[in-house]
Amino acid sequence: MSHLMKMKWNSEGIIMDKMISIKNLNKIYKAGSVEVHALKNVNLEIGYGEFIAIMGHSGSGKSTLMNILGCLDKPTDGQYLLDGISISKQNTDELSLIRNKKIGFVFQAFNLIPRTSVFKNVELPMIYAKTKPSQRKQRSLELLGKVGLTDRIHHLPNELSGGQKQRVAIARAMANNPPIILADEPTGNLDTQSSIEIMELFTNLHKEGNSIILVTHEPDIAEYADRVIVFKDGIIIEDRRKEGVQNNLA
């Protein structure tokens, strides 16, 4: 895919090649009198269409970064621009809207809505995005076909295997065609075979032009990504690209 195809234009007609831009980002958690500096002056730029793995041990700050990237948490200070929007300045309702339009989530624990069919689970984010019913139906079927679950659309989550649940979660994450998919340990609850299948699915989605950021502590999983960012004690200690992968950022 060419570099230009992965660029976007903002409302002023200026070309934006950075999907995510983070400058001097800090996150401090306060527990009583104790302060935990989870992220320390993090600077990071992620372009459109990248496939990134964020790695690190427990407490390294990777999940904190994931929460901030997913607009689920706000930084203590520093700047975070997502698709040209300054996230720090948004209120909770605006953040909900951003999550709905711009981010697709995939969780380790799947987090499908129980006692709700596979089809409805995928359809739900589109309902919030006010998509027309006919379009919703078409898109849901299309996405479920893409993840290989056409024959399971009326099943309930508890009738599916772990791998199948995660496929539904991926289809749901793709529902509103968000520019970014955030996956938090997506293979953490899966066996090896299902993990490979899920990672192949992510690879295919990336090939189709989707931006994917996944958090993992498994090096085998991280190898599927084009770029690996390693965290330790709240700072980036490594940011490497797979050989032959072009840096889209100028």
Binding site: N67, S96, N100
Partner: protein
């Protein structure tokens, strides 16, 4: 977005969570129905035809207030439990892009649908059951049933007002919960491990002190009058103690069990003890609630049943003779006049008088300062266990009363102890002293003093002058002692109707004579006693049922919540090689301990409260302690069976979820 989207989603949510919402809706309906019924009884016209309508209505109104307060607390608690379990669902909606105001809209519609359904069905069911309720009440108080059906609009309006208020309060709380929750907590939930609860020693100590103090008060309160004041304090202390000990004490006990290696390293204890340590933190409030509700149910039902069953005893204690004519401050001439009235009225009705007990006396309240010394009583001393009632009669009266021929000098007395103790042979009334010539073993009018709420002594002295001297010593305010009282009690060989008629004709004749005395009888007072004791019995059953309903729901919710919590744990246990049978045993060990702990605690509470309850029952004229003990044991037995059935039924839901 379709305007009907949120209402539809709300209905779907209720349907999807039907396991939790159906019992909640049923409880709401039950609570609304019961509140309506109780208030209906307060207003019911049929009650107006009772002679004791005012006292019964006051009693029922008290029941309405208790039901109302209980409804607010209970439905709020149940709702908060439901919301706690659905937080993850709402967090997910929020993460997927639904704004908080939209989540609030869904909650609004959910509450709207539930409240409309519950209130309408509850009031309708209340109206349908109202006749049954009044029939049941009238059956208990032995009152003629009337025909007709009424729907007091005031009861409907107040029920509507109260429950719309409760649902609005719940909605406000739910929306507040949504606004303060952070979606990130959902993500954290799966990543952050639970921390083992620390042993909260301060809370354990506070709990132990509160419970110990509550028990101490209950055990050491001797005066029934003091028991009224102190009982509430003891109840509050025991409640605080229960909450603290279930929260902190249980963790401490479980950790001790864990350290006992012989007990802990057994397949059925290992998992349950380790699991319960984590679980107690979230379960403590629920278990304390079950414990307190169980205690309330057992105490309410056993006391009211024993009062109802023991009503004959109460009547006999209150009226040791069939008919009693009594007056205070009455001259000798008036006493003779009363004798004549009694003789005339009984002969007019052709009734034979038997077992006559007749004497003139004066009662003086005093404080028994030390063993044999009495001083003036102040108003505050009525709650003291040293409060004493002294009944003085002259030797002449005594000789007439007991058919004896004894004599006393001015510094001598005969003493009969109805309750209390005077160990010395010299009694002093401030500075005035009397030596006890003889201690009497029995007294003809003994029964009458059995219900004495204080120490009670019968003192026979030589003359009215001696009584006057004692009166001067013990009275705080100056003033003349006035005339003596007059008591005339007798049995009659006549049936119930004649006895009632005799009391009323005696009262009429007394009124006509211008004397202020009053005539009473067991039969004529029976309907009054039935209204009050029957009303209390009804209230006990009613509130007992309400509390049982609450207990069942709390148990049910606990089983569901724990089922979901344990599902994963038991899957892992199976994976690491525990057999199905072992898992089942482990589950039983855990559930049995957790669910029967509140019941055991409730029985312990009752055991400690037993003495103070008997004192309170004494205030209600019930002195039959064995009867109360039997009622309490039967109530505990029946309640335990019921509890076990509820446990077995709800445990099935738990097993279903887990397996």
């Amino acid at each position: 977005m379709n305007k009907l989207f949120y209402p539809k989603l709300a209905i779907n949510n209720i349907k999807k969570n039907s396991k939790m919402y159906i019992p909640y809706i049923l409880t709401c309906i039950g609570t609304i129905m019961m509140f309506y019924n109780m208030y209906f009884l307060v207003l019911a016209k049929d009650i107006g035809s009772l002679s004791e309508k005012e006292s019964l209505r006051t009693l029922l109104f008290l029941g309405t207030v208790v039901t109302g307060i209980f409804s607010v607390i209970f439905l709020f608690y149940t709702n908060s439990f439901l919301i706690k379990n659905r937080k993850k669902e709402f967090g997910l909606f929020n993460i997927l892009g639904m704004e908080k105001k939209h989540v609030a809209s869904i909650m609004f519609f959910e509450t709207l649908f539930i409240s409309i359904l519950s209130i309408l069905t509850g009031i309708l069911a209340g109206i349908l059951f109202s006749k049954l309720m009044i029939l049941f009440l009238f059956r208990i108080i032995n009152f003629e049933v009337t025909f007709g059906f009424e729907i007091p609009i005031k009861a409907v309006c107040y029920t509507l007002l109260l429950f719309v208020g409760i649902f609005t309060l719940n909605l406000g709380y739910n929306i507040f919960q949504v606004y303060i929750s952070k979606p990130v907590e959902l993500l954290k939930g799966s990543n952050i491990g639970e921390k083992e609860p620390k042993t909260k020693w301060i809370l354990t100590i506070i709990g132990t002190i509160c419970l110990g103090s509550g028990y101490y008060i209950a055990l050491t309160t001797e005066s029934p009058i003091a028991a009224i004041n102190i009982f509430f304090v003891a109840v509050v202390l025991v409640m605080i103690g229960t909450y603290c000990l279930f929260t902190a004490g249980s963790v401490a006990v479980l950790k001790v069990l864990r350290n006992n290696k012989k007990y802990y390293y057994k397949s059925k204890h290992f998992i349950s003890v380790s699991g319960m340590i984590y679980r107690m933190k979230q379960n403590a409030v629920g278990l304390s609630n079950i414990c307190i509700l169980s205690t309330a149910v057992i105490i309410m039902i056993s006391t009211t049943i024993s009062m109802y069953i023991g009503m004959e005893d109460v009547l006999r204690t209150r009226y040791p003779r069939n008919i009693i004519v009594e007056d205070t401050d009455i001259s000798d001439e008036q006493a003779v006049q009363l004798d004549n009235i009694i003789e005339k009225q009984t002969s007019m009705l052709d009734v034979n008088i038997m077992n006559v007990s007749r004497y003139r006396s004066i009662s003086i309240a005093a404080m028994q300062n030390d063993d044999s010394n009495f001083i003036s009583a102040e108003s505050s001393s009525y709650i003291s266990k040293n409060m004493s009632m002294l009944l003085f009669v002259t030797i002449d009266e005594y000789n007439k009363m007991e058919n004896k021929n004894l004599s006393l000098s001015s510094d001598e007395a005969l003493l009969y102890v109805a309750s209390g103790d005077i160990p010395s042979n010299i009694i002093s009334f401030n500075n005035f002293k009397l030596s006890i010539k003889e201690r009497l073993d029995s007294l003809y009018s003994e029964k009458r003093n059995l219900v004495a709420l204080t120490n009670s002594y019968f003192v026979v002295v030589d003359s009215i002058e001696t009584i006057n001297k004692i009166y001067d010593e013990l009275m705080i305010e100056d003033g003349d002692m006035g005339e003596l009282s007059y008591y005339y009690g007798f049995d009659v060989n006549a049936d119930k109707d004649v006895q009632i008629h005799l009391v009323s004709s005696l009262q009429n004749a007394i009124n006509n004579s211008g004397i202020n005395a009053y005539a009473e009888g067991a039969e004529s007072s029976r309907s009054t006693f039935l209204s009050i004791y029957g009303g209390l019995f009804f209230l006990g059953l009613f509130l007992g049922f309400l509390f049982i309903m609450a207990t069942v729901l709390i148990i049910y919710y606990k089983q569901i919540a724990e089922g979901y919590d344990d599902k994963e744990r038991f899957e892992i246990m199976q994976k690491v090689g525990m057999s199905h049978g072992e898992i089942k045993k482990s589950i039983q060990s855990q559930i049995l301990t957790v669910f029967f702990m509140p019941l055991v605690a409730a029985v312990i509470h009752l055991a400690f409260a037993f003495k103070v309850i008997t004192k309170l029952l004494l205030l209600l004229n019930l002195s039959n302690i064995p009867l109360f003990a039997i009622c309490a044991v039967i109530t505990i037995f029946v309640f335990t069976i019921f509890y076990a059935i509820v446990y077995a039924l709800t445990a099935r839901t738990y097993y279903k979820i887990v397996s």
